[in-house]
């Protein structure tokens, strides 16, 4: 199984989970259906023309119906965002296999899960809405709830024990580490340049190579650059995890982010940055580190609020080996690779596990707050949306590309606060993809269907799709795709003793042949050829044998024969071996050699020889061996 991502856009259909009682949210009117019925008004609420489920947010799981997940042997994880559904798979499907991921992926993935669990668990919600999921009821609802897919499969968040159990099934791997799976294939993670420890995977046998490219970046940010060279010579390249915002240039977005932030603060407003606790935030903090003094923001407090804020900042400093060259060089000095260490030391950046406790004492406005969750449905960000939403001095800046910012804001409308959309998605865009494909030249490309056509909203932008030759094969949810290659060979080892016994024969210049009769041993999908066991010594005792004792045990096939028999030479040979009454008759296709005395007849044609004789075994064997002298064995 490749990756194990969780679709969290489902949460956008739910009301936010406020940390403190929100009068506004609790006063929202219940849904009245078109026919006037109000039986759903406890479950569904309306806000500024949108309908929301008033319940604990639920997530859309990966496809679990298509195949029995307990038969999955291995899950390969490409980055920490793509493992968020892991507990659902490892704990509920009978999965008994192994998960492979790099150390930063696991550590930061754990932080993301911890934050998710924490922000949902600390706001217990009594109500769990399920009536609206009834197919008959869902049909009556307004969009987008009406069109939401597989709502019956949506699940509540997992718990920390489940997270720990899931993570315990992960086997840590390093870049370019070759991992043997059941002797059948070898998998290797490669740096994908997108996030700390993010990987592309190569899945190969001795003859076939499949590359799985997911969430890769060619931009220079904090992670180790993408390893492109190792992707060459792929039979199939599976391409996914491209940028979600192909039209936005990440560098430009960072610039806009900084200027909007500075402007708001200068005007006395606060800035809210809904974000994940790891990833782009490191780059943003680095930009701000260079920017704040020149922009006159040195006295503005920056807060980073997350149950895992401290861990995330600490962990980022210890993965030197997974960072870009510049950052590695800093560690050699030895200095912390990320400048946020200095921001913390100089008290410019402060981090808190939540808005409760120390934060409430230290909190000074105007300020800049980084906090989660980017969906605006749970986490400390909900509190600040409620707190700052009413003032137009404040700004919320969206940097994470995973959620539509308009959908995210919907339950907070009407809103006076300024909203700026600066999505920073460093993953491959279509120009970079075509450059990459030209570089690594896979025989076939496989990708999700949506990459093979322009985005629905910009149907004229034919540049916003994958363009390669041959055209990519596309797949969609719950579809089975047959990959276009045929396996022809496998490796087998010939033991040295057997190799010594082989007699190669040059058939054509440069081509030699040897017939091999050997014992084939297969263990763990590895094949070995050994010398066949010596035939057992014939029993010396004169014990009377039963007829069946002689039955040949296995059926050792004799080699195939090739060549032709020149009649004249054959007759000479026969005569040399004491056959005196040899007669030759010509036939349409060849000759018949007659041994009159022995009542034996040998038909010789171009491609066949037929010996017809009485039951005289010594004679037959003698003739056989004489014929074989003229033929080659295969």
């Amino acid at each position: 199984m490749l990756d194990c991502g969780l679709d969290m856009t489902s949460t956008l259909n739910f009301l936010p989970l406020p940390l403190v009682q929100s009068p506004r949210l609790s006063k929202l009117p219940g849904l009245v259906l078109k026919d006037g019925s109000t039986f759903l008004d406890k479950e569904l609420k309306e806000c500024s023309g949108h309908v929301f489920v008033d319940s604990v947010p639920e997530f859309c799981l990966p496809e679990t119906e298509l195949l029995d997940l307990s038969t999955v042997d291995v899950i390969l994880i490409s980055n920490y965002h793509c493992m968020m559904a892991l507990p659902y798979i490892t704990e509920y499907t009978g999965f008994t296999g192994t998960v492979y991921a790099t150390e930063p992926t696991v550590q930061i993935g754990r932080l993301l899960m911890e934050e998710l669990v924490n922000s949902i668990e600390r706001v217990p919600k009594a109500q769990s809405a399920s009536m609206w999921k009834n197919k008959e009821v869902q049909r009556l609802l307004p969009a987008p709830l009406k069109d939401a897919v597989e709502v019956s499969m949506w699940r509540k968040c997992y718990t920390m024990p489940e997270v720990n159990a899931a993570l315990s099934k992960i086997q840590l791997v390093g870049y370019s580490q070759k991992i043997e799976l059941f002797g059948a294939v070898q998998v290797t993670p490669l740096s994908s340049g997108y996030a700390l420890g993010s990987s592309n995977w190569i899945i190969q046998s001795h003859y076939e190579k499949v590359s799985y490219v997911s969430g890769s970046s060619l931009l220079t940010t904090h992670p180790q650059p993408m390893d492109q060279a190792s992707l060459k010579n792929s039979d199939v390249l599976i391409l996914t995890g491209l940028t979600q915002i192909p039209t936005a240039n990440p560098d430009g977005m960072v610039g806009e982010f900084c200027s909007n932030l500075a402007m708001t603060v200068r005007n006395g407003g606060n800035v809210l940055v809904p974000c994940y606790p790891s990833g782009v935030i490191y780059d943003l903090l680095e930009c701000l580190y260079q920017y704040i003094d020149s922009a006159g923001l040195s006295n503005v407090p920056f807060y980073f609020i997350s149950p895992v804020a401290n861990s995330s900042l600490e962990f980022s400093q210890i993965f030197a080996e997974w960072l870009c060259h510049n950052k590695q060089t800093k560690v050699y000095l030895p200095e912390p690779p990320f400048p946020h260490a200095e921001l913390i030391q100089t008290n410019k950046l402060k981090h808190y596990p939540s808005i409760h406790g120390d934060f409430s004492n230290d909190f000074k406005q105007p300020c800049v707050i980084f906090t989660g969750h980017p969906s605006l449905r749970f986490g400390d960000v909900v509190h600040f949306m409620e707190l700052w939403g009413k003032s137009s001095l404040n700004t919320v800046i969206f940097t994470e590309p995973d959620f539509s910012y308009l959908d995210a804001l919907a339950p907070y409308q009407p809103l006076a606060m300024k909203c700026v959309y600066c999505p920073i998605d460093t993953r491959l865009n279509f120009i970079q993809v075509s450059k990459l494909l030209k570089e690594v030249q896979p025989l076939h490309v496989v990708c999700p269907e949506q990459y093979t056509q322009p985005p629905p909203s910009q149907s004229h932008r034919t540049d916003l799709m994958i363009d390669c030759q041959p055209p990519p094969m596309s797949y969609r949810r719950a579809e089975v795709l047959t990959l276009p290659y045929k396996r022809r060979y496998e490796k087998i080892e010939i033991m040295p003793e057997l190799a010594d016994s082989l007699v190669p024969l040059e058939i054509k210049p440069g081509i030699s042949l040897a017939t091999v009769s050997a014992m084939l041993h297969t263990k763990d999908n590895k094949h070995v050829l050994q010398l066949p066991p010596k035939p057992p010594q014939p029993p010396t005792s004169k014990k009377r044998k039963r007829v069946s004792d002689d039955v040949p045990e296995c059926k050792p096939l004799k080699p195939l024969l090739s060549g032709s028999i020149p009649v004249d030479q054959f007759v000479q040979t026969l005569e040399k071996h004491g056959f005196s009454d040899v007669k030759v008759e010509d036939t349409a296709k060849g000759h018949i050699v007659l041994l009159q005395e022995a009542e034996t007849l040998i038909q010789i044609e171009e491609d066949s020889t037929h010996i017809i004789c009485d039951n005289d075994e010594p004679l037959r064997v003698k003739l056989r061996d004489l014929v074989l002298k003229f033929l080659q064995k295969f």
Partner: protein
């Protein structure tokens, strides 16, 4: 055997051991500058080539860890002798190695005024040739040669390396430690079954007493000295054991609520702790797990040392470099404190002959210092081995893990190695070598030959019961260095050759007065009874098949009481065909009706 023509691998430790040395067999520290004794400071690289460029003879250089006896000659080798190929080491080693080299250079050149030594610039240029490797990463050095690093414990960033060409491989351990300590984990390797394991054997005969006992002993001595108002000097090498002992003392001070100050000498050690913080993923499980809450290398009780502190009254503990008391701060402090019997010096590691450390450990109490001055040593002198090498038990454990076909011992004393060699040969039944310095050992391997087998042939053979070994037949096509095993049919087809079918038809006479079809039925029943494992069929046209062998019956032209069975088979069924005719010749059993 790794092919010497294609890949000569320079493994640092090995070359160090190749230096001819007359005196003690202990060849550690050969590359490290130690006072007065060593005439040759660097290994003799003319062993590799007399006149050619090193780069032409070496595929790569692998450095296992940052100790100077493993990397001390590197800038000399790459910049002065001249080597431009790749040098591989782990990230922490790459980070720390240049600092130790610079320190080494300073002591040798600046303090001692030696010439003909590498310069700071040479260290920098040398480090530019270094490629950092991750643990378990497979590094493709060239088309044939690949290397892979395994965790070795011992010091931060220490690694064992597997070196592989085709299906033949060597594992070189460098220095390693098989038991986790307070700051590092235990060495680990998978069952990689190398043809040769080259292992260090520093503690070849020692089964060391429990570490806990040694630690308790150490703490007791330090505690007693401090209690009676004495000062404790612990000369250490800046990185490695220093951190281990710091953690040990720090936790002890915390638990016992002790107030006496602990210092470590400035510069290197302080900086060193920083490396441990940033490379925390290389430390042991416990430290890694708790580092967010508490970084073990941020010491509360241990402060930086200032030269003036040495004269402060009252008890204190000082960690100072270098570890063998041959120069620098540790020696200065030693001279100040040596005269007082309340004080104590604890030597936590091995000392080379000729150093002050070695002298006091061997019982000397009057030392001749510079300018004929005599220093009387009244302070207590203790030796406690804390160096993190595998002991005999650990070495055996590693061999068990890796399952090598041959073992080669280096980095130890001949007598002890001999003992270990016997033990290894006894327990594992593998060849064990311990070449003397400068000696060449040739090890023969017997590699199997990988060939490509066509999937069609393989599937045909494994279709029935994949687990059971079975006899198979195929044709090996050898063309331009490629080896392919295919079915005979495919081989013929590929070569554009036609098959020549060789068929036999034998007439077998049977006495049976019954009608033909009854005879056939009797033959059928007979064969069916005898050939239980074969497919015997009676076809509608009156013939019988046994597998692909055809049997037909006709009446004898002259003798109605005799039937003629025509048994026909191809050469491929020779055994069975031949068997059938002889079986039928014996006649049919009488009982069947």
């Amino acid at each position: 055997m790794l092919d010497v023509v294609y890949c000569f691998i320079l493994i640092e430790g090995q070359l160090v051991t190749e230096i001819p040395k007359s005196s003690s067999g202990h060849h550690k520290d050969a590359a490290e500058q130690t006072p007065s004794r060593l005439e040759r400071r660097f290994p003799d690289f003319s062993y590799i080539t007399q006149n050619g460029r090193l780069t032409d003879f070496l595929d790569c250089v692998i450095i296992s860890h940052f100790h100077l006896d493993h990397c001390g000659a590197l800038p000399y080798f790459s910049e002065m002798v001249g080597y431009d190929g790749p040098i591989y080491m782990t990230h922490p080693t790459k980070a720390i190695c240049p600092i130790l080299l610079e320190d080494y250079r300073k002591i040798t050149v600046d303090k001692k005024g030696e010439t003909n030594f590498f310069t700071s610039q040479m260290i920098k240029d040398c480090m530019k040739k270094v490629v950092a490797v991750h643990l378990h990463q497979t590094v493709q050095v060239d088309e044939e040669l690949e290397i892979k690093a395994y965790y070795a414990g011992h010091v931060l960033g220490a690694a064992m390396f597997q070196i592989k060409v085709g299906c033949e491989s060597v594992v070189y351990t460098g220095d390693y430690n098989m038991t986790p300590d307070r700051h590092l984990g235990a060495a680990w390797i998978d069952k990689c079954r190398p043809d040769l394991l080259i292992t260090e054997s520093t503690y070849a005969t020692t089964i060391r007493d429990s570490k806990r006992c040694r630690e308790r002993d150490f703490l007791k001595k330090v505690h007693e000295t401090v209690e009676r108002g004495g000062k404790v000097l612990i000369p250490v090498f800046a990185l490695g054991r220093a951190q281990e002992l710091c953690i040990l003392l720090e936790t002890f001070w915390e638990r016992m609520n002790l107030k006496a100050p602990i210092y470590f000498s400035t510069g290197l050690t302080e900086k060193a702790n920083h490396y441990y913080k940033l490379f925390i993923t290389w430390t042991n499980q416990k430290i890694r797990k708790t580092f967010v809450q508490r970084n073990m290398f941020e010491f509360k009780h241990i402060k930086a040392f200032d030269r003036a502190f040495a004269d402060n009254p009252g008890p204190m503990v000082v960690f100072a470099t270098p570890g063998m008391l041959h120069a620098g701060q540790s020696l200065q402090i030693f001279r100040k404190w040596a005269g007082n019997e309340k004080n104590m010096v604890i030597m936590p590691g091995y000392c080379v002959q000729g150093t002050v450390g070695h002298k006091i450990l061997s019982g000397q109490r009057k030392l001749e210092m510079e300018g004929r001055q005599i220093l009387e040593v009244k302070m207590q002198v203790e030796y406690m081995s804390f160096s993190a090498h595998a002991d005999a038990k650990g070495i055996m454990q590693l061999i068990r893990q890796a399952e090598p076909r041959n073992v080669l011992l280096v980095h130890g004393e001949a007598k002890k190695m001999e003992f270990l060699k016997q033990k290894i040969e006894q327990e594992f039944h593998v060849n064990c070598y311990m070449p003397a310095n400068g000696e060449t050992t040739t090890i023969f391997t017997n590699p199997s030959i990988p060939v490509d087998i066509s999937l069609g042939l393989l599937k045909r053979e494994t279709a029935i019961d994949a687990k059971k070994p079975k006899l198979m037949h195929g044709t090996l096509i050898m063309k331009d260095n490629s080896f392919r095993l295919v079915s005979p049919e495919q081989a013929l087809k590929e070569l554009g050759l036609a098959e020549h079918q060789l068929r036999f038809t034998c007439r077998v006479h049977i006495q049976d007065p019954r009608k033909e079809h009854e005879t056939v039925l009797r033959v059928y029943n007979h064969l069916k009874g005898v050939l239980k494992d074969y497919s015997v069929q009676h076809l509608p046209d009156g013939s019988i098949t046994v597998e692909s062998i055809l049997i037909q019956a006709t009446a004898h032209l002259e003798d109605q009481g005799t039937k003629v069975l025509l048994v026909s088979w191809t050469y491929q069924d020779e055994e069975l065909g031949s068997y059938l005719t002889s079986l039928l010749k014996k006649g049919l059993p009488q009982s069947t009706s």
